[in-house]
């Protein structure tokens, strides 16, 4: 089993209400899926906003690693290494 990497989950303003106002979470995870699960263990409503009940990304949320959409990498199975930043980018509509 891989050692978990220390990664940062970047929380946008629109979702900070789900994690007590934090703009980032420091997590140990080897994949995007594991990072979201670790975040969900601390802040359940955050992962509920990002993922469906069957663990898929919702259509109004994107996740980026190294500025790439994880859809274009290995999806939620995209591997993470120490120092990686995982960006949550939900749709917002204000103008």
């Amino acid at each position: 089993m891989d050692a978990a990497a220390r990664v940062t989950l970047c929380i946008p303003a629109a979702l900070r209400m789900h994690c007590a106002g934090a703009d980032q979470l420091s997590l140990d995870a080897t994949s995007v899926r594991a990072a979201l699960a670790a975040a969900g263990a601390r802040h359940a409503s955050l992962s509920q906003y990002i993922l469906t009940r069957d663990g898929q990304l919702r259509p109004f949320v994107k996740v980026f690693v190294h500025n790439q959409d994880v859809r274009d990498l290995d999806g939620l199975d995209t591997r993470l290494v120490d120092g990686d930043e995982v960006l949550i980018v939900p749709s917002v509509a204000g103008g």
Partner: protein, 388 residues
């Protein structure tokens, strides 16, 4: 013999000349036809396909028009004399295949070859736009593109206000504004196109007054209505570029879906508190590109959508984002730079950080993905599926 006559004789021996009809044929095969005449001369007509660079800044501007020194260049003036001097200058810069059009534009016209009358900038316009006319990326040809352009602003709110002001100032010839709202005092911390004395007025009228006060030479078309699936096609079809400054998901999706169907670029901006997103969605772009549904296939259900009215906004954030949208709109009209196609610019004003995220067309996009016909698959505003 005068020095200029002696030099001219030397140039005639040095620089190959080409007859206008042959120049046209070469231009159609990829040679660049360059017009070096002054503005008052080109106002009388410009050969079709010619790039009007003028003589004064020719050496400074040529590399933008012809980055490859192996590219064949055809230089045209009024009668075929100044073009010899200009051609010599281009050869000194390293261009290897430079020819002069014999007899210049006069001979071109006499030969019955096609030309057009460009829109002329009057003295007032030359003063108004002087600072941007000096930019090689704009110049007279670019300014005429701006004057010919038709740009539609969706919303005269936080994003549309700054975008509209700067597009008007830049001389976008026709600015449309669609907004069904009236000006409220609570708008004025960010919607700088309006004014305290116009509270209660329809926003489109208030915006029109401000835009024409800034630049009376443009045309402002007001559409005081709620954008809906029933009116959106007829409205968008009148414009070249759509600047989406709307403040709700329904309008963002309606704008995107309509732009995809009509092949129009949609300059998108959206904000939440100190965060913002900007991109250009344009699947019909020459190199292709994603649409908004490639990024977000569907909006959040209302109970999950972040409420913008409750969220609050500091006016500078939509100010910055509206100007980023205006910048993209101007680049699209001018055909310069790299538009934000396939890139999502995320702005965090509190951290003062811009991140650029890569976006690709989604092959499974219900609107523009492979095998989907934008006109058939998704109707504007079709209810979207939200997995629980």
């Amino acid at each position: 013999m005068k020095a200029s006559d002696r030099r001219l004789a030397e140039l005639r021996a040095e620089i190959p000349e080409v007859a206008p009809a042959d120049a046209r044929a070469l231009a159609q095969q990829g040679a660049i036809l360059i017009d070096v005449r002054d503005a008052d001369e080109t106002a009388q007509g410009v050969a079709d396909g010619a790039r009007v660079l003028g003589r004064s800044f020719l050496e400074l501007r040529i590399e933008d028009a012809a980055p490859d020194p192996a590219q064949p260049l055809l230089v045209m003036c009024g009668s075929g004399v100044r073009s010899l001097f200009a051609a010599a200058g281009l050869r000194q810069l390293g261009y290897r295949d430079v020819r002069s059009v014999a007899g210049g534009f006069n001979a071109w016209k006499d030969a019955g070859l096609p030309f057009h009358l460009p829109k002329v900038l009057d003295a007032n316009a030359r003063l108004r736009y002087a600072r941007q006319l000096n930019l090689p990326e704009v110049g007279e040809a670019g300014q005429r593109k701006l004057l010919d352009a038709r740009v539609l602003l969706i919303g005269a709110g936080g994003l549309g206000a700054p975008a509209g002001l700067y597009l008007a100032a830049a001389g976008v010839g026709t600015l449309g504004i669609v907004d069904h709202d009236v000006v409220e005092r609570s708008n004025l911390n960010r919607q700088v196109i309006h004014a305290d004395g116009r509270v209660g007025q329809p926003k489109v009228e208030s915006a029109r007054e401000a835009l024409l006060a800034l630049n009376p030479d443009i045309r402002v078309e007001t559409h005081a209505m709620h954008l809906s699936p029933d009116n959106v096609d007829a409205l968008f079809a009148q414009y070249d570029v759509i600047v989406d400054g709307s403040d709700n998901f329904d309008a963002h999706y309606l704008a995107n879906d309509t732009c995809v169907r009509l092949g129009l670029p949609c300059v998108h901006g959206s904000i939440y508190r100190f965060d913002a997103q900007v991109s250009v969605f344009w699947p019909a772009a020459p190199g292709g590109g994603p649409c908004y549904r490639c990024l977000y296939a569907a909006p959040p259900p209302p109970e999950l959508a972040p409420s913008c009215n409750e969220a609050g906004v500091l006016g500078v954030v939509p100010g910055v984002v509206g100007l980023l949208e205006a910048t993209e709109a101007l680049k699209l009209v001018l055909g310069i730079g790299r538009p934000l196609i396939g890139r999502l610019l995320c702005y965090d004003a509190l951290a003062m950080r811009f991140r650029e995220l890569a976006l690709r067309p989604d092959p499974h996009c219900v609107l523009c993905g492979a095998g989907h016909s934008p006109s058939a698959d998704v109707k504007p505003h079709e209810p979207t599926h939200h997995p629980a």
